[in-house]
Amino acid sequence: MISRRGVLSAGAAGSAALGLAACSGGSGGSDPTDTEANADKTITLWIMQGTNAKTDEYVDAITKAFKDKTGATLKVEVQPWDGAHDKFVTAMSGGTGPDVAEVGTTWVPEFADAGGLDPLTKDVDEAGIGDGLVQGLVDAGTLDDELYGMPWYAGVRSILADRKILEDAGVTEQPGSWDDLLSMIETLKEKNPDIIPFPVAGGSIFAGMPFVWGAGGDIASESGGTWKATINSTESVEGITWYTDLALKHDASTAAASSWLETDSLAAFQQGKVAMFITGSWVPATIKADDEELFKRLVAFTIPAKDKAVAPSFLGGSLLCRFTETEEPELAFELIKLMSTGEFATQWAKDTNYFPGEQKALDQVVADGDDLTKVFAQQMTEGGTTVPVTPAWGQIEGKKTLSTLFSDVLGGTKPQQAADAAATEMDKIFGG
């Protein structure tokens, strides 16, 4: 496999160079709204599969709007998340990539550092669309003071529960602290011993991190341009210990959950075996599609911190990025502008149950939304946070350092020992 990639890149790098040389005369200073001049130009856009159930309608609408505005043709290619990272990498190295693509927030620094993405700061400033963006997404897309991706949509994780199970046990209040959450779990277990009150899924790091952050800990911190792991600090370890003790000491979870991913928790929840679990703001829509009855019983809570109701939670999502190899940077940016602001941004958020990347559109979605939306929105605005914004994060994510940490502790390793191991691994990666 490695070698195949090598051949591809070697062959395609040559053709990319030719392509760039041939087209360098044409780009630069072209007017994106000159519909006649753009008539025979094509822009390729990659979006991810499965985010929007109405993708076809959206694609038709955006293609038409883009044609009306710029005269150019828009070619939309829908890519599956599976293997998306590899696909981007191959495309970037081979010059077969799109002009514009949706890129997951945690990948942006890595791709930008590698030279695959084009900085957007100047264009965003000139277009006057830089203000009022959701800060967490801007942070995730900013590397060395340059913005490499325009915020498009975001999601955040909170606690989702089955109201019926909660009402049967008499616990329906938003937990205001860890202690509240624990007594909720204990009551649930006591009233209904067959239920899994709160699964601790070892493979779902963003279910565990709010407890690290909620204890005042963090993954890593930066000073003077160097990153250092803080996952083994006293506060971080306190969070890891408290969260994993839910499974190890308080019987809140099941042994099976130590190798669960978030999707496994969701499946168990849908089977009625789980009372509440940590999941994303996009999940209620999935549940609605599968089981309307369960959807009506859903209730959401913000994930509590050690002594308050809202802990920091990972704000993930997608940014719209322009790729360095594009031959039409102005047209590409025009597309980014069209998708990430105004009507199309709001429409996308409504269709997908994600939050838009623009604060104004976000306020609109929250105002129109139901109670579930309001809880997730509160978690996002008060607690939305991100992973270390460094090209090294891609490697840490790839090495599964944090999943290993959580599943090791669930498997019986001492929290401090597992955290030290994770910190050593991260520091080695930060050091290059």
């Binding site: 490695i2 090598g6 890149s9 790098a13 990498v89 791709f111 590698a114 493979g203 790839g398 290993t404």
Partner: protein, 324 residues
């Protein structure tokens, strides 16, 4: 063919060396080049598909080659650093190599034993039943590794799986009380079942074909000499199908050493549970998940070398006589 080529040679020897020199150079070239011309399409295809990638992997393995090198198309040679780091990593010697080698040995032995037993069973059936049974086991072989692995993961799901709920109903253990994916031995026991289940049909069908080539008279003769079924198997069947067994063993060893999908797709197998990592997953994790293509290539080269060594040892011990 051999007769045709040996005739001029013998003639040349008979009439002395002067005679041979008189063959015009052009004709000799033509004669010499004809086989190569015929082989050329195959050789070129092999070179493009196998040789060039091999050269690239070797080349990458002596570089610190990352995403940015891939995108910018530059190189970054670091000599043997990758090899030095990998070979001095206790993770290789303590976890990855034992997992890979131990798992491969167990799988090869089990696959061969099950495969041969099934082949003997099929051989004893009539044509009609043999076709039905062969078709049935070929279905197991035809299932893609991904699908097969998911089936095994579902069967062994610690909470809802068939195995857990059966044990629960029998009162042996409570469903969900123990996670076998989190335990190195249980994890590999499940992976072994999966790989053997998926691998034995090929062996069975191949050995079955081999059994057909053993002359029936040998069995009759052995029976007349008073050989029981076991000694007939040892003294007639095994020697008769030895070349086929050799090929089967070498192929299964190669397959079971480089097993990837069946491990990667199991819960925790993608690198989360470090205890269960094998060479294939490690190489993937380093190169594709972490973007350290140089390091991943070096692991792949080491895996290839290991397989080469094992294949050579097999060839020498199994092919003592001129059987192939």
């Amino acid at each position: 063919m051999s007769a045709a080529t040996s005739t001029p040679k013998n003639a040349a020897n008979a009439t002395g060396t002067l005679e041979r020199r008189r063959v015009p150079v052009r004709r000799r070239l033509q004669r010499g080049s004809a086989p190569w011309l015929l082989l050329a399409p195959g050789l070129v295809t092999l070179a493009v598909l196998l040789l060039w990638p091999l050269v690239r992997v070797l080349n990458l393995s002596i570089q610190d080659y990352r995403l940015r090198n891939l995108i910018r198309g530059d190189s970054n040679y670091t000599g043997l650093t990758n090899y030095r780091e990998i070979l001095s990593d206790p993770f290789l010697w303590g976890t990855v190599l034992p997992n890979t080698v131990g798992f491969a040995i167990v799988c090869v032995v089990l696959t061969m034993v099950v495969g041969i037993v099934v082949a003997l069973f099929l051989n004893s059936l009539g044509t009609w039943w043999r076709s039905i049974c062969t078709t049935a086991i070929m279905v197991a072989w035809a299932v893609p590794a991904i699908t097969g692995t998911y089936v095994f993961v579902w069967l062994f799901d610690p909470l809802n799986g068939l195995v857990a709920s059966t044990l629960d109903q029998l009162g042996i253990m409570e469903a969900g009380s123990w996670n076998w994916f989190a335990n190195r031995w249980a994890f590999y026991a499940i992976a072994t079942a999966n790989v053997v289940y998926h691998g034995f049909p090929f062996i069975a069908v191949t050995v079955l074909a081999g059994l057909g080539t053993v002359p029936k008279e040998l069995y009759e003769a052995a029976a007349l000499d008073g050989a029981g079924p076991l000694s007939r198997f040892r003294s007639v069947t095994i020697p008769g199908i030895r070349p086929i067994l050799a090929v089967c063993i070498i192929l299964s060893t190669i397959w079971d050493f480089k097993v990837f999908t069946q491990i990667y797709l199991m819960p925790g197998g993608n690198g989360t549970n470090r205890d269960v990592m094998n060479l294939g997953v490690w190489s993937y994790s380093e190169s594709f998940a972490q973007g350290l293509y140089g390091r991943g290539s070096a692991i792949a080269v080491l895996l290839t070398l290991l397989l080469l060594v094992i294949s050579v040892i097999y060839m020498r011990s199994l092919m003592k006589e001129d059987e192939l």
